[in-house]
């Protein structure tokens, strides 16, 4: 089941909230668990068994670690077994196809016969809930989180439907207390629903409107200069509004039932450098990579050379986490290289020397990010090279016929609208020489009309998105594939 569907909005959410709020608090985690498992099983009943198995396995390992003493050698062995179990599941479902295909290509090149293999379907959300397991086991081992003694609480944590299939990657430590006691109020519900509706509008009204244009542009056999840049720019916007919108929906839904999930985005396209970008994009993944990979590898404490190697390694693994293809690996390498370059450049700058102006830094960063997104979106390496060839003007310059008919007015309007929304947060700041006065408190401080607009704007966006959703086919969330 996806958030942007009517069975979710009309058949799942109302009974969930009704049952949840009519149930005494001590049973509410049961409500979360049962509804979340039903939510997951809606897609594939058999993969619910995998989720339950991973949950039971990780819970049991953690309890055994706790019984042995989290700092004991036995706990370390258990943790390694737990990590191998979880990552083994991920490796099998996510990377076996890629591994066998690559192996077959190699043996094919040597003139040997290919290995027979039936394609494995990736269970939705697996990449996310395996990372949760990893963080939980490591945190228990480090003593950063007390082990959960309640299977119900742990299973509910893993299963909360709002974050189950595409994050944010919530750590047990962040909501462990809320699983035992949390606050509910009409105001909380309002804040959550407001957040959900804004995310819904971002996803359905903006990202999904741009989706056909992106699909068409990336399908062109010989994109022109305009086609290539249009493909890259529109996908850059689509991906952000899709994933950030989804994250807001997840955060909002959790807030409605009293959970405070960590933010997943912080205006990433306003980054002034590539390092800044990674401190704003998919925050819960970035900090996972930092805390469970980069720092254990030595981070920047083992000398400059090792730091660059660590950066490259972490970003490559991060790329591979997104999908089992060379595109994702190269995308990770690209960002690893950019982060290394940025670090090297920053170290060369004399202490106290002025940094690059925001506009230049942001333009350069966005160019680098956009080039990376082409790898991220293209079906395969050839597809990415085709778009790059277009961006270089190797197939002509003007908008091609094959794309022109897809550039409908609504899609065309949403491109500058989406770009304007990306840069909207700059308004209260001084931009260059101009200062645009915005009162503290934003719209709320602008009298009755401002209050009404602040209150009703999410509903207007939600209503527009709902009618658009009903009058066209649903577009799946882009991050579901990961």
């Amino acid at each position: 089941m996806v958030f942007a569907s009517f069975e979710f909005l009309f058949l799942f959410l109302p009974p969930f909230f009704a049952v949840y709020f009519l149930t005494p608090f001590r049973y509410r985690n049961w409500v979360i668990l049962i509804f979340s498992w039903a939510f997951y099983a809606w897609w594939r009943v058999d993969f619910l068994a995998l989720l339950i198995a991973v949950t039971v396995f990780t819970f049991t390992i953690a309890r055994l670690m706790d019984a042995a003493g989290p700092q004991s050698p036995r706990a370390k062995t258990l943790m390694i077994a737990g990590l191998i179990g979880n990552l083994g599941v991920l490796a099998y479902f996510k990377y076996a196809n890629f591994g066998v295909a690559t192996f077959n290509q190699l043996v094919g090149a040597m003139g040997l016969g290919a290995v027979g293999w039936a394609e494995i379907v990736l269970p939705i959300g697996l990449s996310f809930y395996v990372l949760q397991s990893v963080s939980y086991l490591v945190d228990v081992r480090r003593g950063e989180v007390p082990v959960s003694r309640s299977f119900l609480n742990y299973a509910a944590y893993k299963a909360i439907f709002s974050q189950l299939i595409a994050g944010p990657i919530v750590r047990y430590a962040e909501i462990g207390e809320e699983l035992k006691q949390r606050h509910h109020s009409l105001r909380q519900f309002g804040i959550g629903s407001r957040t959900f509706m804004i995310g819904f509008a971002m996803k359905v009204a903006i990202a999904d409107t741009l989706s056909p244009l992106v699909d068409a542009a990336f399908a062109l056999a010989q994109p022109t200069l305009v086609d290539g840049w249009l493909a890259a720019i529109v996908y850059t916007l689509q991906l952000y509004f899709d994933f950030a919108g989804y994250s807001l929906m997840a955060i909002g839904l959790a807030r409605m039932i009293g959970f405070s999930f960590p933010p997943n985005f912080d205006n990433p396209y306003l980054a002034g450098s590539i390092q800044d970008f990674w401190q704003r994009w998919h925050l819960t993944l970035s900090r996972f990579l930092r805390d469970y990979l980069y720092i254990p590898l030595g981070g920047n404490r083992a000398g400059p050379r090792r730091t660059y190697v660590n950066l490259m390694l972490v970003m490559t693994i991060g790329g591979l986490w997104h999908g089992s293809s060379w595109n994702f690996i190269l995308w990770g390498v690209w960002h690893g290289g950019l982060l290394g370059l940025h670090r090297w450049w920053s170290r060369r700058r004399p202490r106290g020397a002025p940094g690059m102006p925001f506009a230049s830094g942001n333009a350069l960063t966005m160019l680098a990010v956009l080039i990376g997104w082409v790898l991220f979106r293209a079906k395969d390496l050839d597809g990415a090279l085709t778009v790059y060839a277009g961006m270089l003007g190797l197939h002509g310059t003007g908008l091609s016929d094959a794309l022109a008919w897809q550039v409908t007015p609504d899609r065309l309007w949403f491109v500058p609208l989406a770009a304007a929304l990306v840069y909207l947060p700059l308004l209260p700041k001084r931009v260059g020489r101009w200062a645009i006065p915005v009162p503290a408190g934003g719209l709320l401080a602008n009298g009755a009309l401002g209050i009404a607009a602040w209150t009703l704007a999410p509903f207007v966006g939600f209503a527009l998105a709902t009618v658009l959703l009903y009058s066209r086919d649903a577009v799946p969330f882009l991050y579901f594939q990961f």
Partner: protein, 392 residues
């Protein structure tokens, strides 16, 4: 910084904080109301008779495991909500009202002229598809000739070609621009008799529209003029159909009524009212024409002689069902024409149905007029196209 993704506005004033708290409570209350409304819509959709029929077929273990039940519920919720009409219309109004967009299937020109995007876009492998269709026509023409049955192909040009002046910048692909001539050339090289309607329609357009504004088809004026052109070509191809002595008369309704407006339907705007505030392109208005037979020849000959008329059959698409083309064709030919055209029939559907049917086997015609819309000839072959290509 005010963030659009986190919505965290730093509030320092206690008064503003209070306002915000009340606003958020109000939002919570409104959200509860929306959830209740949604629950009613969702449950009502499940109980609709059409939904019940669909769901009854997938309420078993294997369907649940295979995801068919989920897919059926998904379909039901996306199609049978009590607010279905309102939601679709609102989507159409939003797209057209805010962005002047017709959605994925309709391109908006100026002065409320609408065009099918199928007529504007290039199709992958269009050349191969056109050749395959021309080959099918060639084979069928040969088979008909072997039975002494004439064939006249009438290629109806795209509205986007003839009514180009009101496209007002809506781009049309070079492939689409070249399509009519390319397909006519393919017919010519295969010696298939074909009527060029593009030239007379372009000429007729000088004196007024020959297509509806909000519909894909020719209007009554365009249909009448093209019926004359087709009739002349038919009588040249099969002189034996001659003047069988039938007479027809076309009556016009005195009061204007709305035209067909299939593109308003594609834009989900067909049920939208026309108010002082314009919510949709103005529908076409027309004095509806109807052609009736007013005179039939006296019975001649013996019991076993051919009955007069009945020797002409019209195959094709919705063009043959719109604008009173069929009536005007009978009037121009002075003979009844069996109309086997199918709405949405594209290139092959009506031909396949007719050639496989009893009407063709029992009472073969003297002449087949096969109307084909230009916009379909470059499209990928569908099941009917492939089946007809293999034989009827």
């Amino acid at each position: 910084m005010t963030s659009i993704t986190q919505h965290s506005i730093r509030i320092t004033s206690p008064a503003l904080y209070g306002v915000r708290a009340w606003s958020e409570r109000l939002q919570g209350a409104l959200a509860i109301g929306l959830l209740a409304l949604g629950a009613w819509q969702g449950l009502a959709a499940l109980t609709a008779p059409a939904a019940q029929h669909r769901l009854a077929q997938v309420l078993d273990g294997s369907s649940i495991l295979a995801g068919r039940t989920a897919a059926a519920v998904n379909f039901v919720e996306a199609h049978y909500l009590p607010a279905d009409g309102v939601l679709r219309a609102a989507g159409g109004v939003a797209r057209w009202g805010i962005f002047r967009s017709g959605g994925p299937q309709v391109a908006v020109g100026c002065n409320d002229w609408l065009y099918l995007t199928d007529e504007l876009r290039p199709w992958p492998d269009a050349s191969a598809h056109m050749q395959a269709r021309a080959d099918t026509l060639s084979r069928i023409a040969g088979q008909l000739a072997a039975r002494n049955i004439g064939l006249v192909v009438t290629l109806v040009p795209d509205k986007a070609r003839i009514e180009a002046a009101t496209r007002c910048g809506t781009p049309r692909s070079a492939q689409a621009d070249a399509r009519y001539a390319a397909f006519m050339d393919l017919l010519k090289t295969r010696a298939i008799p074909a009527v060029d309607l593009a030239a007379p329609m372009t000429a007729a357009r000088q004196d007024g529209p020959v297509f509806y504004r909000t519909d894909t088809h020719w209007n009554q004026r365009g249909a009448a003029m093209m019926a004359d052109v087709v009739a002349k070509a038919a009588m040249t191809a099969a002189p034996e159909i001659g003047d069988a002595g039938f007479r027809f008369r076309t009556d016009r309704a005195e009061a204007p009524t709305q035209g067909p407006g299939d593109m308003l339907r594609l834009m989900s705007l067909d049920q939208v009212p026309d108010l002082a505030v314009k919510l949709r392109p103005s529908p076409d208005l027309q004095n509806l024409e109807q052609t009736v037979q007013v005179e039939a020849p006296a019975e001649t000959g013996g019991l076993l002689d051919d009955a007069p008329g009945g020797g002409v059959v019209l195959l094709g698409s919705s063009f043959s069902l719109n604008g009173n083309f069929h009536g005007r064709l009978q009037e121009a030919l002075h003979t009844p024409v069996g109309n086997f055209a199918e709405a949405g029939g594209g290139f092959a559907s009506s031909a396949r149905t007719y050639f496989k049917g009893g009407a063709f086997a029992d009472t073969p015609p003297k002449l087949v007029i096969w109307e084909i819309p230009e916009r379909v000839v470059g499209q990928p072959l569908d099941a009917a196209d492939r089946a007809l290509a293999e034989g009827w």
